[in-house]
Symmetry: C2
Subunit: 336 residues, 2 copies
């Protein structure tokens, strides 16, 4: 039995603090709203035409990876060594099958590689060169690592390295770069915790979640955050919820955040919103964690809590308007 | 307030099916019992002298890695490309801090590298070359990858590749190798799911867990199983339990097994043994998962369920005898 009116797609594009320099902020905000809106419209149409939750989150994350505004795929941040290391994961709530790749630098679309791991291997997580060889064997597009580089992200790395030195030297020298030099954005790019993700419920009642990231600017090579770790940054189970996280990845790993929400619902009879709010507003801060998540359950209830000043986010139910938001306090109809 | 009488260490050395060829099995069994016994005695002594749970699981896994009988560190299995890729994780139940390395081939003691990630970096998981560079910077010993190789494991790889070909060819050709040619062992090495791990409770009431593995024989390069994934193969939280898993890693990832036990205790008020038994005997088989785990809670209760024919295992409470076991049905005093 299908129920198209319940189908929903929700996406996020990372959390962060509000930029100090707000010149031109209205135009900046409009750019982000427009990007989120376009992606949601595409995924909403797919769901409306009977597409699966798995295909809807795949499409949404594909488009988020391609958009240089967000830290995933093209436009990914740089590591300390000025390279890129991308992570992605996808999970099917109907079967609990999952696939992920981590620490890859040549796969053009990391989320598609994660899906190939799920559908075309017996494994869940492949990393580094082994993941790239698998993607190539699957016929996925490989690119030169420089493909992912943008000037805005390079400036962001230089800023981060200078900020680190300034802090280390304690010399109080003025920073050469201001964050506003890097990428005109409503959320401060120098302190934004970038990830993209999507969760969806389709008309057949199936849930899916997908997450993709370039990690943290200036990160140590080989560092893997919560994004590609099933249970930490990504989880989906038809019996409870689909969850995609963004924030200080290490704390999300230690708290097993995505799965914790499902476990609170399954064993503690908590509602989706009660579970998500508690984890983001109480459990995560207790670990020193900052960030947020998007989550949807099988009844099409939506929860998008975050404990930072902003999170790029939005959702679209089939047959309803698309909603997008950036800052805390912006109420979104249909969201708890 | 310390309570030395409650302190306990438990270890495992992997699960598997019972070897078909049982010639010499009594001597084989004695070899494994002796190895497990010696490791438990060392860790028990450390706990008796007031050592921490974190130090006790570190010591036990160090010794398990060094023992060629078990698939971790020296004596690790080979990948399909005849290389080694090692994974390890450790977690401190008092602070929820954790550290892990994955897909490393030159770090002599992967568990020590995992602990260095926990204590000397801001990260939780480092993989591949980045993890090796970090270990080197920390002064940990690096070795040529051939260091981990043993002839028994090389024969095991050849057997696995032949078995794979035989299955693919459907030609019914007799296998050249029998598992008994490889490593005389009570559990069938050709189908053993090797991992080593330890959980401990110390006299101050702190829990810790650690796990280390060479992964699956003949695995695809870059494959990461549950061992180094916090929440999947390894978890510790003083409020609930310390858990270390072994088995078909992908299913443990999809079920977030180690954390699931803690969540059932925290949100569902289940006892450690009820939670562990349900996860291993019901949840895991529903996903097609085979394996087991060792778990201890803050009241010194122990649970060691597995759904295979055997699991190398044992435990030692401070002031009590050491117990070791291999097969299902062997009752261990003091264990549920």
């Amino acid at each position: 039995m299908t129920n198209p009116s319940k189908a929903i797609i929700a996406i996020h594009g990372g959390v962060g603090t509000i930029s100090r320099s707000h010149s031109g902020s209205a135009a900046q905000e409009a750019t982000y709203h427009k990007a989120l809106n376009g992606i949601l419209l595409s995924a909403q149409q797919m769901l409306n035409e009977g597409g699966s939750a798995l295909d809807a989150v795949s499409l949404a994350v594909d488009l988020l990876e391609d958009c240089p505004l967000f830290n995933a795929g093209y436009g990914a941040v740089f590591t300390h060594e000025a390279t890129h290391e991308l992570d992605a994961a996808i999970m099917d709530g109907a079967t609990l099958r999952a696939g992920a790749v981590a620490c890859v630098s040549r796969i053009r679309r990391p989320l598609r590689a994660a899906r190939a791991v799920m559908e075309r291997s017996e494994h869940v997580l492949l990393v580094a060169a082994g993941a790239e060889a698998f993607a190539q064997a699957c016929g996925l597009e490989l690119v030169d690592p420089a493909f992912f580089s943008t000037e805005a992200r390079r400036a962001q790395l230089q800023y981060a390295i200078l900020a680190e030195r300034t802090m280390m030297d304690h010399d109080g020298a003025a920073l050469v770069f201001r964050s506003s030099d890097m990428l005109p954005a409503p959320l401060d790019e120098s302190r934004k915790l970038g990830t993209v993700g999507a969760v969806a419920l389709d008309s057949r009642g199936n849930l899916a979640a997908a997450t993709s990231t370039g990690g943290m600017t200036n990160k140590r090579c080989g560092r893997v955050g919560d994004t590609p770790l099933v249970g930490a940054g990504t989880y989906a189970d038809n019996r409870t919820a689909a969850v995609s996280c963004t924030g200080t990845g290490e704390m999300f790993i230690r708290g097993v955040v995505a799965y914790d929400i499902c476990a609170r619902m399954a064993y503690g009879s908590q509602t989706l919103d009660a579970a998500a709010q508690h984890v983001v507003m109480t459990s995560l801060p207790a670990l020193g964690g900052r960030g947020g998540l998007i989550a949807v359950d099988a009844q099409s209830r939506l929860s998008c809590p975050f404990n930072t000043e902003g999170m790029y986010r939005g959702h679209a139910r089939v047959g309803e308007d698309v909603y997008t938001a950036i800052y805390a306090g912006e109420s979104i109809p249909g969201s708890n």
